[in-house]
């Protein structure tokens, strides 16, 4: 009964509705704009909040390409979404894989220089690629990885966020489970596969969501390392559509934004339950 007074409940709903409306407004306008024609938007002042009838045309154009209203070409979003998907998957899965292993080593083994290794890994925790982007490019170029998925993804894997979270989680796994596994005759790798990995499911899910979105939303790094159009991810495509000196085809831009939103949204929705659980379980 505590906290269940009806006045409070109504207030809560009111605040939440306001919050949801505010948060959703830009997304609403995005969707609305994607149903209008480029002309309608270019001449609008302000843009109309009612959907128009160009939904199908716009999305067909955005997805599969074609001539633009301005007489240019619309690069199809479809192949770019594929690139985004592949690199987001490589980034999220790769990062989770190497982080699981190294967190396992750091937590479950004692070895010489462990302290140094620990700090080397965790210094990378919060430093995004953007602040060392030039030198990183040089390295990637030296290694001949330009314009490849390896170059597009591996440098983004080089940070310890996931290692940190897994370490936190492993520390909460009861020692008895490890001991029970040892009594059952399981060696370290067997324990890792049979016990630790399945137990980390929710943390893995949470990290997968975070890393997938991180990978999906990359823009600056792909801009640098990719040189052929078939390696362009979709966010870069959106920026390309906008960074024209003339008026952009806003409807196509917005359709692309909507399209680019769909896969991460699906991932979040699918993983929502685990995601949140993984966060409470391991964070703190």
């Amino acid at each position: 009964m505590v906290e269940r007074k009806s006045g409070l409940t109504w207030l809560s709903h009111l605040v939440l509705l306001l919050g949801v409306l505010t948060v959703a407004l830009p997304l609403y306008i995005t969707v609305i704009a994607s149903t209008q024609s480029a002309e309608e938007i270019a001449r609008a002042s302000p843009i109309s909040l009612m959907p128009s009838s160009h939904f199908m045309d716009t999305y067909r154009l955005a997805l599969f390409g074609g001539p633009s209203f301005q007489g240019g070409v619309i690069v199809p979003a479809w192949p770019m979404m594929k690139v985004s998907l592949i690199s987001a998957l490589i980034i999220s899965i790769g990062k989770i894989a190497i982080s699981l292993l190294s967190a396992f080593a750091i937590v479950y083994f004692r070895f010489p220089l462990r302290g140094l290794v620990f700090w080397m890994v965790f210094v990378t925790l919060m430093l995004p690629v953007e602040v060392r982007i030039g030198p990183t490019y040089d390295v990637v170029a030296t290694l001949g990885l330009l314009n490849s998925y390896a170059g597009l993804t591996i440098p983004l894997i080089a940070s310890a966020t996931a290692t940190f979270l897994f370490r936190q989680f492993f520390l909460t796994v009861p020692d008895e489970l490890t001991e029970a596994a040892r009594m059952d005759g399981a060696g370290p790798m067997r324990f890792f596969w049979d016990v630790l990995l399945p137990l980390s499911k929710t943390s893995i899910a949470a990290l997968f969501v975070i890393q997938f979105i991180y990978g999906w939303n990359q823009y600056l790094w792909p801009l640098l390392v990719t040189t052929s159009e078939d390696m362009y991810p979709v966010v870069m495509g959106i920026r390309r559509l906008i960074s024209t000196e003339s008026t952009p085809d806003w409807n196509i831009v917005m359709a692309n934004v909507v399209l680019a939103m769909i896969p991460p949204m699906i991932i979040i929705m699918l993983m929502q339950k685990w995601f949140v659980k993984g966060l409470v379980d391991s964070e703190k």
Binding site: A38, E39, A42, R43, A44, S45, P67, S68, F69, Q70, G71, G72, V73, G134, Y137, D138, A141, T142, L146, L223, L224, T227, S228, E229, R239, R240, L241, S243, T244, E245, S246, T247, P248, D249
Partner: protein
Amino acid sequence: ATEIIWWHAMSGALEGWVNDLAKNFNESQTEYKVVPVLKGSYDEAMTAAAAAFRAGNQPDILQVFEVGTATMMASKNTIMPVTEVMKKAGITFKPTDYVPAVIGYYTAPNGEVLSFPFNSSTTVLYYNKDAFKASGLDPEKPPVTWADMENVMTKLKASGSTCPYTTSWMSWVQLESFSAWHDTEFATLGNGMKGLNTRLAFNAPLQQRHIGNLEKWSKEGLFKYNGRASAATNSFVSGDCAMITGSSATYADVKRSGKFAFGISTLPYYQDVKGAPQNTVIGGASLWTMAGKPADHYKGVAQFFAYLSKPEVAAASHQRTGYLPVTIAAYELTDKSGFYKENPGTDVAVTQMIRKTTDKSRGIRLGNFVQIRTIIDEELEQVWSGKKSSKEALDTAVKRGNEQLERFEKANSK
């Protein structure tokens, strides 16, 4: 076929143009294949190319905006001059075939043409004929001087316009072109064309007077600042602003998106200034051949440049985009075809440029020009928002800009 990689920054409507050029060239012969790659905006393309060059992955051709010219020139062994490319390929190349005000800008003091003038624009005035009519102004009589401008703006405002006049490319239009248009120095040493130890000079009385006027008009609601670079274009296309000064290359865009009749005219000038109107400076970009590529690539590049210079190709480009014609032949061809008559105003840019230039009007070539433009934007924003007087802002801009020039001079004078 040998692939010739061409990094460019022509997004939107212009991407189609670039792709068509490459396609048509590729179809015209079998030995080479030009592959255009859009690398973002001008600055992003250039940064990417610089990074690529350090890593030995540079493209064959790089499109560089005019503000990057000094940087390209100063870097040693980064590029191969067009003159040399053509010579090696055995293709005759006569600079005199090209529009002088354009080719001059990309020519080194020793007479070598460094880059290929691909898409040059200049500054013009667009005005909304419908708005003129609505305010009782003669839509066929655009303002010619800044005094006319003030009258027109006042009338537009009186009849309810919230934005009689706006501008894109603040520095390019209101200081660079403005200075050349009035045959006044923007920077010393021929606006930097003659040496690295050039210094900015745009805080002279004339520029102060002009920026001061804009400040006053801004306060009076006659002039409205609508953002850096070409951000203001939107507000003209949507009909919110009745006049805009900007790039001649915006023509296609305005024509397609605007739902009103519009006219093009020359930049306004102050009648009392001696030598005005002189000529405006160019903008846009040129194509640079990057060094360090296999010899057969250069042959291909040379052929491509030769192809772009063909009168019919160059004329088609000019008509399609609003960029200046590259060669005189292309201009004449366009003229003959009656294009200018059918599209009144499209010749304004050309007529502004086809004049004999002076040392002060040939063009502006400064190191770290990107930063200098940003500094000018930053400082002038203080003027429009009433935080600084025009004099203060111009003085600071000159001071901060000169630091950039000094640094560039230092880094490149060895």
